[in-house]
Symmetry: C2
Subunit: 238 residues, 2 copies
Amino acid sequence: MTQEQAGTREIAFVAFEGLTPLDLVGPLQAFTVLELFNPQYKAVVVAETLEPLGTDGPLKLVADKTFEQVPSPYALMIPGGAAPAMKAMSNESLLTYIRKAGTSAEIVTSTCTGALILAAAGVLEGRKATTHWAFSKQLERMGVEYVPDRWVEDGKFTSSAGIAAGLDMALDVIGKLVGEATARQVQLMLEYDPQPPLGAIDWDQIDRNMLDPVVDGWIREGLAERPDLVSRLVTQTS
Amino acid sequence: MTQEQAGTREIAFVAFEGLTPLDLVGPLQAFTVLELFNPQYKAVVVAETLEPLGTDGPLKLVADKTFEQVPSPYALMIPGGAAPAMKAMSNESLLTYIRKAGTSAEIVTSTCTGALILAAAGVLEGRKATTHWAFSKQLERMGVEYVPDRWVEDGKFTSSAGIAAGLDMALDVIGKLVGEATARQVQLMLEYDPQPPLGAIDWDQIDRNMLDPVVDGWIREGLAERPDLVSRLVTQTS
């Protein structure tokens, strides 16, 4: 923890075209609230440019810093998405930033298919991680050991499962950084007292392969210019 | 349900300067996924202009439609925030849109202090609703009966508690619109199987008045130009 005495700790949330906004905004909101209690932590949203970025829905996002402006964040948070996250796996500017900033960062996290982007950057090889349930095989095909947990910590890497899992992971990371008491205050401010109206997901009823054709489509769409990655990742090679 | 046969149902998420992004993005992500299963539902993000809007953190958001472009959405979703949501309570352009679009909409929802904005628009008077736990008295002072539930349905209005509660509410609304089976599919795609690392909030330990000085500060900051609303809403009138 060499930055312990260095003052501000930047928590860099990486944005890219087409991302799934809840992957980013769930953890970001937790760290935004953390700043109220502990201003040492400073959330930033970084992207290649400060132009508006499309998402998987009708919203556009604008980062507040470019990659160049945040070369050495304390923590790096990578969201995911569908086809655009597959495309991000071949975005050299993004991958270069992840490699550099990820090397100096004390903490690197992913939400959803953000784990695949970390894997594409080459920083997860041989590690245990998780991702969205529909992408378990793709993570394994990138040389990562898939663990079907809500979030998985392996060294400085903490990955979370799909989309909504990012908030659980963020609160766990916050608890480890600043202690349970502050993490509870953040949870209370967020009023994160979940009551899914239909209850929890019954995993015994879920076939993690059921979206294979859809996932294959996203891979082919996002990685059209990288046939090597397409053939490595798709399930049906027809 | 007069729009039943009319084809597309626009779900309008209202954005304003300084909002709490998770209030908007939680429900938006659920409706974005719903479109994959039922394209009749079309999420849109509406704002006064299409300029980037600040949030309570480092992220900026850009709406895809102006208020004028979405005069009669099927549903209207209002996020909240801290001082900027108080300011929104005096934003006549926003309130006028909420009154007009809210009158024709079949469903009107709020997350967090969005309920106070609905109240300021005059559409919640005499109704039951909920809001962020720290704003219960302020909601009552706007003539609304506060109910400390995760979400509260009263006629066509469904309000949810603070920030993270919007996703629970959105899944409930989706279940009522399209049935439990599709709502479960949306929940599964979102991987919303919450596991807060420190467990649920223990409400027996929480004093809902403990943030009164902070809330008063947000009211005075956001409503500096509306002393009438400040004196109606603050707890300490010193």
